[in-house]
Amino acid sequence: MSRPPTTRRVRTLAIIAVVLVALALPLTLRAFWLQSGLFAMAAVISAIGLTLLVGRSGQLSLGHAFFVAIGAYGYCYLAGDPSSPLASGLGLPPVLALLGAVLAAGLAGALFSPISGRLRGIYLGLASLGLVFLGQHILFNAVPLTGGYNGRNAEPFSLFGFSFSDGTPEGLTVLGVQFGGLERLWYLGLLLVGVSWWCARNLVRSRPGRALATIRDSEVAAGVMGVNVPRYKAAAFIVSSMYAALGGVLMALVFGRIVPESFGLTMSVDFLVMIVIGGIGSVGGAVVGAALVTLLPLVLNRYSDLLPLLAQPGSSGISAADLSRIIYGLAIVLILLFAHDGLAGLGRRLGSSFRRNADGPGSPDRPMSDSPTTKELAR
């Protein structure tokens, strides 16, 4: 979309500002914030993939956690120590393992495409839910590959001997801050998020992106315009799976150890919460939604004990933990009640109302029925 040049310049400057701040953050953030931020980054990458799938091609998926798991476990297996007695690996260099894991998820997405191509809307959503349960079953039972219930360790990421997950080589210090594993991983995370965002924005504005949007709005129109609909739907699934997997790899790196319990229904639903709160179909919305959904519970948990009038853990009053869950639930409800097209829609409306104030009265807001929705799919 082209905008007036001034708006574009403001946007560019804002992006530069955000990037600069993000680059400087490890200088000041404590470990908790770095760790939480990295979790958010992992979620952001996967959520971008899901919003491409749901918001762009109109395929509802509740199976995203499955592909995240393939990324996480794929990386751990490919990079893992071949001689480990519990869960062995192939011992590939981490970079290759990362690429391999992402490709493996793409392959899994392709294998699922015969089903995803046949089903629509809520049917596809709940069929993919089945994928999560099947996937978790495999994670629990394929012990030699996955380590079973106890999971397996993630090999630290390194490039040419420079480790991103621990402190080797030692003694890297910037402005008096020692750059250990988390600080270094932060930059790897930023890089991956940046590349993911950039690719997603490019895709949305390209030939495949337009084809997907047309499929979302009318499969018939897309077909008539020469789009091979089944193939593009499958491709959207594959791309989204690869994004999920990339997020999964980062997640494994941040965790250091992955367990199958993480990759369940809750994770899948959380991803849906992220893109819905952010505004379905909006890459920026997915980023904000993912950050919000990941950070909100962590921060609330961490700091809600600062609030007064809370009961001690173990007694029966409302404890800090309960309160943080309640705030989380309320946040979901309130955001969607007052902005059913998510934060992206809210932002758009605020933006356009600013513009309108500047330009005098203009057209009112666009209604729900025109936003890219999955409503039609439900039928």
Binding site: A17, V21, R30, S36, L175, G176, R257, I258, V259, G314
Partner: protein, 417 residues
């Protein structure tokens, strides 16, 4: 127009300024020379961290553990504390989510001397590398042998596999279980159930029994299919390595289909209010627990002390044997560790580890079976257990059957973890 850039430059400057703060904190934390710099220890307080599940599946268990823990430390603090310091507990809720736990641990680790108690096997698994890195003493609200021989972990009593071996041995002695018989094992996937199943398989192998395993999840509460299957396999006893809802279901279904066999549960398999449920009669008939944690009704000094304190604090509630008793007993041991470290003037994480391993003959006053010996991290501190019978008349719903004991079979068990 240019505001974003200006803002960002300002922010950068601010960040650079605060980075000095972080730098100082980092150097302070890693140097760790003076006693003042030890995380979680100040002039007048010792802070212990606790990672519990207060909102998800193990919420009720976590709450009762914290009841026992609070009970103990409140008494200690009223008594002047440890090492002239008050003991404080920093409790965080991970909601049984490993990711949350990992994040919470990041903040907690810099502010606490040790982590006790921590609940949730997937949480412990996910945090294990961090525990090792931080040299953190971890009081574990679980009895799995999977953590052996990591020296960080403090286990209160023996492990599930030993409990199960002792229980099966006891069944052969008291309930006529003989070679060729089958025993059913209903277990949670994961280290709790896995540990118990390993013990059962070892004992079965040694005694010529057949194990019929049934793996379940904590959300399974209707076990009629499994019990029917076990009845068809003609099991002579059932081991429950699961939680109390599963115990209740197994006992009541077994009774309803006429499967009249002893049911022995590991520690977490029982809570006293099960006896008020429709399963009560069946439990009274056939249910036993096998664990190092004493039944609250036990006529021993330490246990009675606990019971009195508990009843004074929570007059309307029954002490949950596995929860409150564990919280109390494990705090006793952490207390001992802190006292010893204090005596050595080594109230540091390393000092705590050494203090734990210096304990060779701790007697808990009956709350934990046997004499605890923590010197060898590759084995649990004891192999003794109590067998207790479900008894609505007794405090905590359990009455000990005989004294604590260890079987020869259990003595001979070797830990593979």
């Amino acid at each position: 127009m240019k505001r974003p850039l200006v803002t960002s430059v300002c922010l950068m400057v601010a960040l650079a300024a605060t980075s000095c703060g972080k730098a100082e904190e980092q150097s302070g934390g890693s140097a760790g020379g003076a006693a003042e710099a030890v995380p979680g220890v100040t002039e007048d307080t010792i802070t212990l961290g606790s990672l519990m599940d207060l909102t998800a599946v193990f919420a009720s268990n976590s709450r009762s553990i914290l009841q026992g823990t609070n009970l103990y430390w409140d008494a200690v603090n009223a008594d002047g504390g440890v090492c002239d310091r008050q003991v404080e507990l920093d409790v965080q809720d991970h909601g049984y989510d490993a990711q949350t736990a990992v994040s919470l641990y990041q903040t907690m680790s810099g502010n606490v001397l040790a982590i006790a108690p921590v609940l949730g096997s997937s949480v412990i698994t996910a945090l294990r590398p961090s525990f090792q890195e931080d040299n953190m003493l971890v009081g574990m609200a679980a009895w799995t042998s999977d953590v052996l021989p990591d020296p960080q972990f403090q286990i209160t009593g023996t492990t599930y596999d030993i409990e199960t071996i002792n229980a099966i041995d006891w069944l052969t002695r008291e309930h006529g279980l003989t070679s060729g018989d089958s025993i059913g094992v209903v277990y949670f996937e994961g280290d709790f159930g896995g540990s118990s199943l390993r013990g059962a398989e070892y004992a079965a192998e040694e005694l010529g029994l057949t194990v019929v395993p049934h793996q379940i999840k904590p959300s399974d509460t209707d076990l009629s299919a499994q019990v029917n299957a076990m009845a068809n396999d003609g099991v002579k006893a059932i081991i429950v390595a699961a939680a109390s809802p599963q115990t209740a279901s197994i006992a009541s279904v077994a009774a309803s289909i006429g499967l009249d066999v002893p049911i022995v549960g590991n520690g977490p398999a029982f809570t006293p209010d099960l006896l008020d449920t429709p399963a009560g009669a069946a439990l009274e008939q056939n249910f036993y627990t096998a664990t190092s944690m004493a039944p609250p009704s036990l006529e021993e000094e330490g246990v009675q002390e606990f019971l009195t304190a508990y009843q004074a604090e929570y007059p309307d509630e029954e002490p949950i044997q596995n929860g409150a008793m564990y919280g109390y007993a494990s705090s006793q041991i952490i207390h001992e560790v802190l006292t010893r470290a204090c005596e050595e003037d080594a109230l540091t994480r390393e000092g705590l580890q050494e203090a734990l391993r210096s304990i060779t003959d701790y007697e808990s006053g009956g709350t934990v079976a046997g004499v605890l010996d923590y010197s060898d991290p590759s084995v649990p501190p004891t192999r003794e257990i109590y067998i207790s019978r479900a008894d609505p008349a007794a405090a905590g719903g359990l009455t000990a059957v005989g004294d604590s004991f260890v079987s020869e079979l259990a003595e001979g068990y070797e830990f593979t973890g």
